[in-house]
């Protein structure tokens, strides 16, 4: 296991061991072992098709692993489905916006809050009578600056707002592990800081695990405690941000392969 955090004596919150999935002959994620400790933010980088989102899907249960295991709080959760894993504290925000389009923004968040409070089976009570649930949902909407859009059907929201709602849904689940999959992709420049600040706030709580798939290198550099690099489904580098970004394998595998990165990255490649 390639844990590069010797200073952390606590046990990892989340761990993947030799996690593998193959689609037909293609191995999308190949024996990836990695452990994540509370209070850390780990960025996962790699070129398109490197297996980042697939790895996420294996962790949060959208895909079933071909081999290897996922462990949460030292418990093997590999055989559990997505709902059970969400129940145990794995929160997931999706790269491609994945919401309930004909329900209002508030209703979307309320569904997440209701799941957290396990009241989904209640059929005898009006949903609107659960003020506690609605108020919490409204508060999460406010956190992502969508308070004014509460009653708008999600299908009518601009893309950037949908991205923010995606994050609000994960916040509302109050998970132990936050998995952000390119949370700022497609957002306008002035909206990005809202999300980054939210992520920074979660990080300050010190007791959560944050995983972040992100292409914007400045974001990765400013937020990460650690960077993991995936390439062709394999974990090729893992360590401190500066160290990983400077390592030859990253220069070659990630930054070198994608010459159309932001200017700052190509400058980095020139070192």
């Amino acid at each position: 296991m390639a844990s590069l955090q010797p200073e952390t004596v606590s046990r990892p919150v989340l761990e993947t061991r030799d996690l593998t999935i193959n689609f037909g002959g293609h191995v999308a994620v190949n024996r990836v072992s990695c452990a994540f400790h509370a209070g850390t933010l780990t960025s996962i980088v790699g070129p398109n098709g490197a297996g980042k989102t697939t790895w996420f899907n294996l962790i949060s249960g959208q895909l079933a692993a071909s081999a290897g295991s996922v462990r949460l709080f030292d418990e093997d959760i590999t055989s559990l489905g997505a709902p059970a894993r969400a129940d145990k504290g794995l929160g997931r925000a999706f790269q491609l916006t994945n919401l309930f389009p004909n329900l209002s923004a508030l209703e979307n968040v309320r569904l997440a809050v209701a799941s957290r409070h396990r009241i989904g089976h209640v059929f005898w009570q009006m949903a609107s009578k659960r003020r506690d649930i609605s108020d919490r949902a409204a508060a999460y909407l406010e956190q992502v600056n969508l308070g004014k859009r509460a009653d708008t059907p999600v299908a009518n929201l601009p893309h950037g707002d949908q991205r923010k709602l995606e994050v609000a849904l994960m916040l509302a689940l109050e998970p132990e592990v936050f998995m952000f999959d390119e949370p700022t992709a497609g957002m306008s420049v002035d909206e990005v800081p809202v999300i980054l600040e939210l992520i920074a706030n979660i990080k300050h709580q010190q007791n959560k695990v944050i995983l972040l798939v992100e292409h914007k290198m400045d974001v990765v550099r400013s937020l990460s405690d650690r960077i993991v690099v995936l390439h062709n489904g394999e974990l090729v580098a893992d360590g401190e941000p500066a160290e990983v970004i400077a390592s030859p394998i990253v220069q070659e595998a990630y930054l070198g392969v994608s010459p159309d990165q932001e200017p700052r990255d190509s400058q980095g490649a020139a070192v």
């Binding site: 059970a84 309930f100 389009p101 329900l103 997440a112 209701a114 089976h121 059929f123 649930i133």
Partner: protein, 386 residues
């Protein structure tokens, strides 16, 4: 108070409220507003089918489960009642046994179907329900010593629910809307006479009693479903309809919710089947299990507006009225056109299904969200303008 009864989900459109009120009044005072057995049986069928279609909407409109086995559950209720009274005689014990037996069978079958949806999705699930429904239909026709085969079974209802029973003495009077309106139309000058002619004697028997049982059950089931779809549970069903994948990612075990929806829907359809048997007092494969009936249920749901529940009330009322009275309307038209022409062929009473098809195509084309959906859209558009 009203808000609690409607579970916060009011019609949200003035014309819709008006339509629903008219339907409610017609059903509540039905035996006193419409003269004749045909009108009476139409009213009874509207009550029964509101339960059938509203429960179907719970699956189709709220959860996006396409099932063709709804008539099977309806048939289980109807046959359960027929077989029980056939074997045990016309008493209330037989009714209770029939009801309990039918519901138990429906719960088991719907539980199996619901769990099956774990493996079989969307169109494939629909095909499986179709196969199960056909298997059940052929069982019902072939096990003739139990079910009476194609001939069906007569339901022996208790005396208290039959025509010979008089719950109370004394004459009751009704006011025939049809006579009144047609009188108003033909001889508007003679209002006094028209009013007098409109009053008719109502013979309140056990059949009327059974009608009111069906009406009250139908009303309660509707309000129950309205509460259910507006509860946290109902929201999860809608979330599954919108995006099942995401509902799972939020921690909802969607199989549990889908199965629950299928079971509730099946039990209510069974209940409707029981009421059908007691009102119609005759059960055969054609009037309970036929595939055409399944298609009609689907049509009523879509015409009224899927996922609105109110749509089931409007859809059922409209459909059954058209089914029962479109022929009469065409007969009126046919009397106006010369015989032998193309026109006469088109408006011949036997062409009612053709015209019904045209009406259906038009309604789906112009009201893709159903009548209720469209009325709500119009009301919403008018609001910001005002």
């Amino acid at each position: 108070m009203l808000n609690a009864i409607f579970s916060g989900d009011t019609p949200r459109s003035r014309p819709l409220t008006a339509i629903l009120l008219v339907i409610l009044v017609c059903l509540a005072l039905g035996p006193f507003l419409f003269d004749g057995t045909r009108a009476f049986s139409t009213l009874g069928m509207i009550c029964v089918f509101i339960v059938v279609v509203a429960s179907y909407d719970l699956m189709l409109g709220y959860t996006h489960i396409v099932s063709f086995a709804h008539t099977m559950f309806f048939g289980i209720g109807a046959y359960g009642m027929a077989i029980a009274t056939d074997a045990m005689g016309n008493n209330f014990t037989a009714i209770l046994v029939g009801l309990a037996g039918a519901i138990a069978l429906s719960v088991v079958l719907s539980l199996l179907l619901g769990l099956l949806s774990l493996r079989v999705k969307a169109i494939f699930f629909a095909l499986v329900t179709l196969a199960v429904a056909f298997a059940f239909l052929s069982l019902a026709t072939q096990l003739y010593n139990i079910t009476g085969g194609e001939d069906g079974l007569r339901v022996r209802v208790p005396r208290e629910l039959g025509p010979a029973f008089r719950p109370f003495d004394g004459e009751l009077r009704g006011f025939s809307i049809v006579t009144f309106l047609s009188g108003l139309f033909t001889e508007p000058g003679n209002l006094g006479e028209v009013l007098r002619e409109s009053v008719f004697k109502v013979r309140f028997s056990g059949r009327e009693l059974m009608y009111y049982v069906a009406f009250v059950v139908s009303l309660l089931v509707f309000l129950f479903l309205l509460r259910m779809v507006n509860s946290p549970f109902g929201r999860v069903l809608q979330a599954i309809r919108e995006n099942e994948f995401r509902a799972q990612a939020l921690g909802y075990r969607t199989v549990f919710y889908r199965t629950a929806a299928v079971i509730v829907s099946a039990v209510l359809a069974t209940l409707a089947g029981v009421m059908f048997a007691l009102i119609n007092r005759y059960v055969n494969p054609e009037n309970t299990l036929d595939f055409q009936l399944m298609v009609f249920i689907l049509l009523m749901c879509v015409i009224g507006g899927m996922g609105t529940l109110y749509g089931s009330v409007v859809g059922v009322a409209l459909f059954l009225l058209a089914q029962n009275y479109l022929q009469d309307l065409l007969r009126l038209f046919a009397a106006q056109v010369p015989e032998g022409g193309v026109m006469a062929e088109l408006v011949a009473p036997d062409r009612w299904l053709l015209w019904f098809g045209v009406l259906f195509v038009l309604s789906v084309y112009f009201f893709p969200t159903g009548i209720v959906g469209q009325l709500r859209i119009w009301s919403q558009r008018r609001k910001p303008a005002a």
